[in-house]
Chain length 430, copies 2
């Protein structure tokens, strides 16, 4: 059965939502029992070009066409800002519609008003995308971790500042220079103050702290310092001290009292937050039962944000039916064959012992070459008399080519033992 959805806004996030719902059409249906349809899309300018193709009669610039449509029971808001998003959402709630939003500004400032209205109207409002983009944060804090008294939240929740600080760290350039570059690349807004002065992070902290500390926090409770004053020299000294500088949103609860700060902070390289670079976001959480946890991933972008929005939509659609034992068994699921050779090629580490004689290494290299295995790094050590230990890191190689090469090497008169073979993980973290 169809379930009609109204989408408010069709920019970066709204376009991503349409794209992802199309991609996952089948799964949404089998998971929720509904066939969700984006029936109407509200925009400012119906003639503007869109990243997704839309039937002409879906688009409108008249909010009443969407909000007044009684057949629409779910509204997804991706306009952003306080007004008119607030009025639209309150009207949708008053009309008994469930609401999903990615709007951190609105939830940080008017979350209480909106969620109380939802409670009174008996509808659901979800906002996982408002903090940390694709990273599941709101729901894990509210559900999986709700048995904890959470004492500490530490988040890298603003991608723009993290990108700027990461670039400053990599290149040694100063703030102004990197900001300019980030603006040219579209990673920072032409008016960057909401990001670089820490306000966006403060809004997100307001939302996270309210949930994690199981209370209500307002934006004015957060003490905010931005990153404008950080120089290349601070970054160099932090490095000398074994640390990196990050804009950290920090909330703590001690004896029932909270502290709430957003400010640049040195983080030792041994801390997992130190390795959250570029446009990634992360949240570190300490609970009295769970101990230390970290969540890491993409904090923004069309599809990462849509991932959270559509996840919320699935949740709403599910609760429109009966609760289910989702996940492991219930739905008829496609059979997927297991094919261990199917994975793409990978770099490998190989350690072997061989006779320590001139020409032996060339012979080994020849065997690899014959099987199309090329080498990235070679370490050669004399270990005992007449015996050398050789460590080879290959370029990407298919399992069967590597196996063929190793089989020939095992039988090779100059190779004593092949000690160890391991795949080498690629770096992530753009």
């Amino acid at each position: 059965m169809e379930q009609r959805i109204g989408l408010l806004g069709c920019g970066t996030v709204g376009g991503g939502v349409i794209e992802l719902m199309r991609r996952r059409k089948q799964r949404l249906q089998s998971l929720t029992g509904w066939e969700p349809i984006i029936a109407r899309v509200l925009v400012r300018d119906v003639h503007k070009e869109r990243s997704v193709s839309l039937a002409e009669d879906m688009l409108t610039n008249d909010p009443d066409v969407v909000l007044g449509d009684a057949s629409i029971r779910i509204i997804i808001e991706t306009i952003g800002g306080i007004e008119p998003a607030r009025t639209f959402i309150l009207e949708a709630i008053a009309r008994g519609k469930h609401v999903i939003t990615a709007n951190k500004d609105l939830i940080a400032l008017c979350g209480e008003e909106i969620l109380e209205a939802a409670d009174a109207a008996g509808v659901t409002v979800l906002y996982e995308a408002a903090v940390g983009g694709a990273i599941p944060l709101i729901r894990p804090l509210q559900e999986s971790l709700t048995a904890n008294a959470i004492s500490d939240l530490k988040g890298i929740v603003n991608g723009t500042t993290n990108y700027i600080l990461s670039k400053m760290t990599e290149t040694g350039a100063d703030f102004d220079e990197v900001l300019k570059e980030a603006q040219d690349l579209g990673y920072a807004e032409s008016d960057p103050s909401s990001d670089v002065d820490g306000l966006d992070a403060a809004r997100k902290l307001t939302i996270l702290a309210s949930i994690a500390f199981y209370t209500r926090v307002s934006l004015s409770d957060v003490e905010v310092t931005g990153i404008r004053k950080i120089t290349a020299r601070d970054i160099a000294y932090a490095h000398e001290l074994g640390s990196v500088i990050k804009l950290l949103a920090v909330g703590t609860e001690r004896d029932g009292a909270l502290t709430l700060h957003v400010r640049p902070t040195l983080i030792p390289k041994s801390h997992p937050l130190a390795h959250v670079s570029g446009s990634y976001n992360a949240l570190f959480v300490r609970g009295d039962a769970a101990g230390d946890l970290m969540f890491f991933g993409r904090g923004a972008g069309a599809l990462p944000t849509a991932s959270a929005v559509v996840g919320d939509a699935i949740e709403v659609l599910k609760t429109m039916r009966q609760p289910q034992n989702g996940g492991y068994a219930p739905h008829p699921r496609p059979h997927k064959p297991v094919d261990q050779e199917r994975a793409e090629s990978a770099s490998h580490y190989i350690r072997l012992s061989a006779n320590d004689q001139p020409g032996v290494f060339a012979k080994i290299a020849g065997v690899f070459g014959d099987h199309g295995v090329s080498m990235e790094t070679v370490l050669q050590k004399r270990v005992a008399a007449h015996s050398a230990e050789i460590v080879i890191v290959t370029h990407d190689v298919h399992a069967r080519h590597l196996r063929a090469a190793l089989k020939q090497l095992e039988a090779h008169p100059d190779v004593t033992t092949i000690h160890c073979i391991m795949p080498v993980e690629r770096s992530v973290n753009a």
Copy 2:
């Protein structure tokens, strides 16, 4: 209203569940609308000493006393292993009880049977604690990320092997030596094979892959290599190559086919998984919409595991009432004052410029000393003629002491400018 719960098993995890439910009594009630009571506890030996105090009539060694109690609608299973846990759980389901379990062996081997039985009986079975202890993994994969086609799972899901590999990396000792030490400390079982040969990790991968790839995977599909053959030398070479060695559980989907491996793997230090050391667990996930994500935290232990079990219990209790807009606003919540000075003391980084004259540094150090601020590290650089730049990292200091010292320094005739003040994050990762 009371909601009676039956607990099967009262060892490490069962004891943690009782402890945590007592600690969070108030919150459980306000979140779920029920007053959950552990009414009966099944053990082998009712006379054994327990980590938690229990009324004598709660304990029993007769499964029928728990499973046959019609007033008990929720069962928490913390016995472990296949039988009798499987039979007990199936009987509870048949009697219309909801079930929460931490039993990865059982879910990996009989998950399908159990969840199909639950579906048929219209009850809920949750098992968040079965993989990754306190880390929310199952529910985020099933809910928040369910709009993604997940292509890659990479997990450090066995704490024992991660501890051993971390220790080998730190100390340069060999496998046998570190294993023995881990056994003496109780971090490894006397029969360590399930851990060090990778079987425990394979069971967890079976569960995660079934959910993430939206299909059914059996344990025999996983190709397993343990860590017995890793030597100190491999670890040293990995280090030379800028990498660390981890036992990785890896699942991939390409073109509808899966690969499933557990094996030691080199991970470059720039990869977030490289920094998951000691007894921590982590899961790296790649989704087509969300991009790259990582979840990190404690994979075992009484309270971390109880955190997940009680989180599941709250979920079950909630769905016994109406769905709610949990989290931000609905429940009456305690007011918590914001007190920015309340946080415990922290180490701070301070960069300032001062006249480059003999004795100036001593004067600055004196000002800090007068306010009880002690220094951990000092870097002093001559920057321009007559002007020195000084970087100070303090030991832990209270904000008001630091502020007082800085106020005095600002007015000091030899101090030109205080450029930058930042807190310094402590390391985590035991």
